[in-house]
Amino acid sequence: MIKFEKIHLIFGRVPVIEDLSLNIKAKEKVVLFGRSGSGKSSLFSMLLGFVKPDKGRILFNGKVLDDETVWQVRREAVYVDQDISLGNTTASELIDSVSKLKANSHLVFSKDKIHGLLEDFGLSPSVLDKHLPTLSGGERQRIAIIITLLLERKVFLLDEVTSSLDEHLKKKVVDYFANRDDITCLISSHDPQWYNNDSIKVFNVEEKRWEQ
């Protein structure tokens, strides 16, 4: 599904990633392990075409990533970032603007569906009318997760999406993604809940190997 082949990435003169290969099969859930700065986020950026590797190649669904095929990744995978900049709109305006994108025009974001997801993640419907910058980090994180779920995609790229949540909610989010057997997930997180789940494989980015 997602294949990194002998990736080298250099920022300025500093090598961030050296000769990394990683193969994620369809429906697998993989959490990236490594300290901050070990290139975990860069793997997401490269997969989405925001950063180009200096050497090596990336395959998504069997297709080599280039200027054309990255657009397909952006339509088929969904990405959530730790400190996502959601703009100065209300939550419902943001959800509305996402639903209006051409790539999502086949979806219906019904009120019931949105309210159901809000409830699942412990948010009250009143949060929809609040401006995003006034929400807490945890609330924003959950809004971002809910948007990714509304998109009904099969590949999830989750970059530190549980960092601002409390223990109970962390577990809830981890369990939700781990228990869905129809999706592929690539995760980066420092939260132990992701590592202690039997359905999630752990890949050590620094050692470039799977953890047993």
Partner: protein, 267 residues
């Protein structure tokens, strides 16, 4: 009812008025003294030269020469607009030139043919003077608009990338920034339009009035030019953004850092 001529000697007396800002600058130790004198001198020299030039241009009134001079005006406007942004001139000169040319010529030829109904639509008195007003005014909007568009994207690149990651096309992801900068660019023009006549007697009207025409005629020209300015401003800012996007972004929708003259995001 001609305009009273000002002899050169008397015109020199108007420079005496500058003594007031000079005294203020010295007393308050403002740093603008040098640039005040520089700008005033440069303005006077430029206008004297352009005065002679326009005199011959009007007398000669050759369509080709008029269009050539319009080309010079456009080129200068394009250079000024790009210079105040953070983008390298060599990269986007052509698209901005095309955008300014289309938006100015469309409006001017519409005015000259449909509204004023000129015999000779290349008549220097209309072509050059009206284009000058359009360019001068839409330039301000364009400077604000182009600079804000690219500055906001670079400052807020994460929000742009997030929209791409949700499946937005390049155009869809850029639309919020386009809206922002077009609205910003149009604000001064719209504000000027709304207060016209009460707060300011604009240049066009002053010119026509001093030229000896009736206020009624002056107002008709002013109404026409204000509408023309707002139209050419919005046309040129939209065209400029659409055309420079092709150059400043690569096929994968990423900003090309090589088109910017400064590497840093903050200016």
């Amino acid at each position: 009812m001609g305009t009273i001529d000002i002899p050169i000697s008397s015109l020199a007396l108007s420079f005496l008025l500058l003594l007031i800002p000079i005294v203020i600058s010295i007393a308050l130790r403002l740093s603008i003294l040098r640039s005040l004198l520089y700008s005033a001198t440069r303005m006077a020299i430029q206008l004297v030269l352009i005065g002679f030039f326009l005199k011959y241009l009007f007398e000669y009134n050759n369509p080709l020469v008029n269009l050539l001079w319009l080309g010079v005006m456009l080129t200068t406007a394009v250079f000024t607009a790009i210079k105040s942004s953070t983008i390298k001139i060599s990269k986007i000169f052509l698209p901005v030139f095309v955008s300014f040319t289309i938006s100015t010529l469309t409006v001017i030829f519409y005015l000259n043919t449909v509204v004023i109904d000129l015999q000779n639509i290349f008549d220097a008195r209309y072509l050059i003077v009206l284009s000058g007003m359009l360019l001068g005014n839409s330039l301000r909007g364009n400077i604000v608009g182009i600079a804000a568009f690219y500055k906001n994207i670079r400052k807020d690149i994460k929000a742009y990338l997030y929209r791409l990651a949700l499946g937005a096309s390049e155009y869809e992801a850029l639309l919020p920034y386009m809206r922002q900068s077009i609205e910003l660019a149009l604000k001064p023009t719209l504000a000027a339009m709304a207060t016209m006549g009460i707060v300011a007697l604009p240049g066009m009207m002053t010119g026509v009035l001093l030229g000896g025409a009736s206020p009624a005629l002056a107002i008709k020209y002013q109404i026409m030019i204000m509408i023309a300015i707002s139209v050419s401003t919005i046309m040129s800012i939209v065209l400029t953004i659409l055309m420079t996007i092709r150059i400043c972004f690569d096929k994968s929708g990423m900003l090309k850092q090589s088109v910017f003259s400064n590497a840093s995001i903050h200016d």
